[in-house]
C-alpha cells in the first residue's frame, strides 16, 4: 500500500466545502476518514490523517443526481481535474452502460498534484431486501457521463449527521462504524485494489479505530459518547430499516467477531488503521484487541440485547 501524505482534516474539509456551490452544501455529508479525522482531530494541529480519497455523500437520494451534476460542473470550471486513471480517466457517453461509466473522482487544482481526490457518492434508495447493495446511477455533466454509486448501509450515514463550521455535515462515527459492521458479516477475500489487504480488514479495522478514538475523547472530556453508541445504532436501524432492524442488529457483530478471532486479520486491520485514521497514534495490537473487546461488550452485545 502506498503511504499517503499526512493531511490536516480541518484544512481539507475547509477546502472541499469552499469549492462546493453554496446551494448544495446542505445536501453534502462527508463520510470516511475525513469525517472521522475532522470529528476527532479538528483544532489539534498535531493530529493528522492519511487518506487518498475524500468521500462526499449527497443526501437525500432524490436530490443526489442533481447535486452531483452541479458539483461536478462547478469543480471542473474551477479547474479541478479528473483523477488520472488508465481505465477510468475519461468520462463516458450516453451509449455507455452505467457499470462502464467512471466514478466522479476529482483532484483539486494547484501547481503540485494534490495527495487526495474527491469522490462523489449517492445516498441509497429505500432498502429492498435481497437487492444488490451497490447501486450505480448516471450523472450527465457538461464534460460527459459519469456514475455515482450508493451502498445500502450508507443510509446510516444520513442519520443525524453532525454540523461543521464549513456548512457541510459529517457522518457520525458510530453510524460509519455500523455501516461497516453490516457491510462485512464475514471475512471475505475481496482485496483493496493494488494491495494484498482485505477490504473487510480495512473497514472493520476502521470500526475499532473509531471506537478507540471515541473512548480516548470520552476519557479526555469526561464524556460517555461510546456508551451511547448502541442506543443510537438501534434507533438509526429502526429509522432506516424498519422491520428489518432487529435482524440487522443481530448480525452486526459477526464480521468483527471473526476478525478478532483471527490474529492475522486483526494484525492487518491494525496495520491499515495505523496507516490511516490512527496515523498519529501508532496503536499497539494489545490496545486494538482491548478496544475490540469493548466494542463487543458495550456495543454489539447491547445492540443484540435491544434487538431481542
Amino acid at each position: 500500500m502506498k503511504l499517503e501524505a499526512a493531511l490536516s482534516p480541518s484544512e481539507v474539509l475547509a477546502q472541499v466545502a469552499s469549492a462546493l456551490p453554496a446551494d448544495v452544501r446542505g445536501n453534502v455529508i462527508i463520510i470516511g476518514s475525513l469525517a472521522a479525522g475532522y470529528h476527532f482531530f479538528a483544532g489539534d494541529g498535531a493530529r493528522a490523517i492519511r487518506t487518498k480519497d475524500v468521500d462526499c455523500l449527497f443526501s437525500p437520494h432524490s436530490k443526489a443526481i442533481a447535486a452531483a451534476t452541479e458539483v461536478t460542473d462547478q469543480l471542473i470550471k474551477a479547474d479541478w481535474k479528473l483523477r488520472e486513471d488508465s481505465d477510468w480517466g475519461q468520462p463516458g457517453n450516453e451509449g455507455d452502460p452505467e457499470e462502464e461509466l467512471p466514478m466522479v473522482r476529482l483532484r483539486p487544482p494547484g501547481e503540485t498534484t494534490s495527495p487526495w481526490f474527491l469522490e462523489l457518492l449517492s445516498a441509497p434508495p429505500a432498502f429492498e431486501p435481497g437487492a444488490p447493495s451497490k447501486k450505480l446511477r448516471r450523472v450527465e455533466t457538461s464534460i460527459g457521463h459519469f456514475a455515482i454509486c450508493s451502498f445500502d448501509f450508507l443510509a446510516l450515514a444520513e442519520w443525524q449527521p453532525l454540523d461543521t463550521v464549513h456548512g457541510v455535515r459529517i457522518a457520525r462515527p458510530e453510524m460509519m462504524a455500523l455501516a461497516n459492521l453490516l457491510h462485512h458479516p464475514e471475512i471475505a477475500d475481496t482485496l483493496i485494489a493494488g494491495t494484498d489487504y482485505r477490504r473487510c480488514n480495512k473497514d472493520l479495522g476502521r470500526v475499532l479505530a473509531l471506537a478507540y478514538l471515541t473512548v480516548q475523547r470520552d476519557r479526555r472530556d469526561g464524556a460517555e459518547e461510546f456508551d451511547a453508541w448502541a442506543g443510537r445504532m438501534w434507533i438509526a436501524l429502526q429509522d432506516k430499516f424498519g422491520d428489518l432492524a432487529a435482524q440487522l442488529a443481530a448480525r452486526a457483530g459477526a464480521g468483527l467477531r471473526a476478525v478478532l478471532e483471527s490474529p492475522a486479520d486483526l494484525d492487518q486491520a491494525l496495520r491499515i488503521a495505523n496507516l490511516g485514521l490512527l496515523a498519529s497514534l501508532d496503536v499497539s495490537v494489545e490496545a486494538f484487541r482491548a478496544t475490540g473487546a469493548r466494542v463487543l461488550a458495550d456495543v454489539i452485545e447491547e445492540l443484540e440485547a435491544m434487538a431481542r
Binding site: V215, Q216, V283, E286, R289, A290, A293, R294, A297, D298
Partner: protein, 354 residues
C-alpha cells in the same frame, strides 16, 4: 420438601419436612473432636424445641477420626442429661464419604426420599466446606472488623457461630490475638479487644492482605476510566443485580469511611470480592486485561476473600468493603503514611486508642 438452615440463624444444616410424621432437622459436622459433636447435639436440641411442627434431630458426623464407639458414648451421655422428650428426639450417626458412601447409626426416618436428601446435603456440605474452610486469619479478621465497627464483643461460642469455624481454630485465633496484645487470656463471656491499637491493626491488615487472592487488571489502550468513574459503574452494575458480592475497597473505600483522610487521589480501583465471582469485570470494562506482572500499572485490582464484615454493616452499606480490607489495600499499594493515618482513625473511631 427440604429447606436449608432456616430454623434459627443457621443452627442446622437441613430441615426436612416430613409429610407423614415429625420433621427431621439435620446438623452436619465434619470434625474430629468430641467437643464439636456435643455442640452439634446441643444445637439440634435447641432447634428441635424451636420449630413449630413436631421434629426430630439428627447429628451427622462426617469422615471423622472419632470411632463409632466414641460417638455412641457421646450420644448416650447427651441423652442421659437431656430431658427425656428431647433425648428421645435426638439421633447421632456417622457418615463416610471416602470410597463407598455409607451412613451408620440409628435414624428417625428411613424413606428413600429422606435418605437421598440426606446424602445430597452431606455432599453439598462437603463441597462448601472444601471451598470455604475458615482459617485463623479469617476468624481474626471477623473479630477485628466487628471491633472497628463498634459492635459489642462476642464469646468464643458466638464467634464460632458467626464464622462456622471449629473450636480449635477459633481458640487459636484468640491465642494469636493475645500474643499481639489485642485480647487478654480470659475466655469466659464476651472477649473485648481493648488492645487493638494502630500498630497491631496494621500487622493484622498485613496478614489479611497476604491471605487474599489478588487479580490485577490493566488497560492496554492507556485510556482507562478514572477509579471513581469505574466505582460509579460498579455501583450501577450492583443496582442491576450484577456484582452482588463485590465491594469498593482501597483508597476510595478508605475515604468513604473518613472523607477528610489526607490521602492521594486513588491510583486504581480496589474491589473486594466475597463470593469468588468476578464475571462482572467484562461489564465493568471489557477492555481491561488481567495481568500477572506486578510492575504494570493496574487500573483495577480484585481481592478475592471471605467476607469479614458484620451482617449489620453489610445491611447498611453493602457496596463498601471491610475497613480491614481498605487498610490492607493501602499497605499493599505502599501508601504507608496514609495507612498509618487510616489505622489511627479507625482505632480512634472504635474508641480503642487511649
Amino acid at each position: 420438601m427440604i429447606g436449608r438452615s432456616f430454623t434459627d440463624d443457621g443452627l442446622v444444616s437441613m430441615h426436612w419436612s416430613n409429610p407423614a410424621g415429625p420433621d427431621v432437622l439435620v446438623e452436619i459436622r465434619r470434625t474430629n473432636t468430641a467437643r464439636d459433636v456435643r455442640e452439634g447435639l446441643l444445637a439440634l436440641a435447641y432447634a428441635v424445641q424451636s420449630t413449630s411442627r413436631p421434629s426430630t434431630g439428627v447429628c451427622v458426623v462426617v469422615d471423622s477420626r472419632l470411632s463409632s464407639k466414641r460417638l455412641t458414648e457421646e450420644l448416650d451421655r447427651f441423652r442421659s442429661i437431656a430431658r427425656p422428650e428431647v433425648a428421645r428426639s435426638i439421633f447421632l450417626v456417622w457418615a463416610k464419604t471416602q470410597g463407598l458412601f455409607f451412613i451408620d447409626g440409628e435414624l428417625p426416618e428411613h424413606s428413600n426420599v429422606f435418605m437421598q436428601a440426606l446424602q445430597a446435603a452431606i455432599h453439598e456440605e462437603q463441597a462448601n466446606g472444601r471451598a470455604s474452610r475458615v482459617t485463623r486469619q479469617q476468624v481474626k479478621a471477623v473479630l477485628v472488623e466487628r471491633s472497628l465497627g463498634g459492635l459489642p464483643p462476642v464469646t468464643l461460642g458466638e464467634l464460632r457461630r458467626l464464622t462456622g469455624t471449629s473450636y480449635q481454630t477459633a481458640s487459636a485465633a484468640f491465642r494469636e490475638l493475645e500474643q499481639l496484645g489485642v485480647v487478654t487470656g480470659e475466655r469466659d463471656g464476651p472477649i473485648p479487644m481493648h488492645g487493638l491499637r494502630p500498630i497491631a491493626l496494621m500487622k493484622l491488615a498485613e496478614e489479611h492482605a497476604l491471605a487474599r487472592k489478588l487479580m490485577r487488571y490493566t488497560d492496554p489502550t492507556g485510556e482507562s476510566r478514572t477509579p471513581s468513574a469505574l466505582a460509579s459503574r460498579l455501583l450501577s452494575l450492583r443496582q442491576k443485580g450484577v456484582a452482588g458480592k463485590a465491594a469498593i475497597s482501597g483508597v476510595l473505600g478508605a475515604t468513604r469511611f473518613f472523607p477528610d483522610l489526607d490521602i492521594t487521589a486513588a491510583p486504581r480501583l480496589d474491589i473486594s470480592i466475597y463470593d469468588g465471582d468476578f464475571r462482572f469485570m467484562s461489564k465493568l470494562d471489557a477492555g481491561l486485561v488481567a495481568v500477572d506482572d506486578p510492575k504494570r500499572k493496574a487500573t483495577v485490582v480484585l481481592h478475592l476473600q471471605r467476607d469479614c464484615r458484620p451482617a449489620e454493616m453489610v445491611a447498611q452499606e453493602p457496596d463498601l468493603a471491610a475497613r480491614l480490607d481498605c487498610l490492607a489495600d493501602l499497605e499493599q499499594m505502599g501508601l504507608q503514611a496514609e495507612a498509618r493515618d487510616f489505622a489511627h482513625r479507625l482505632c480512634n473511631a472504635a474508641g480503642r486508642t487511649p
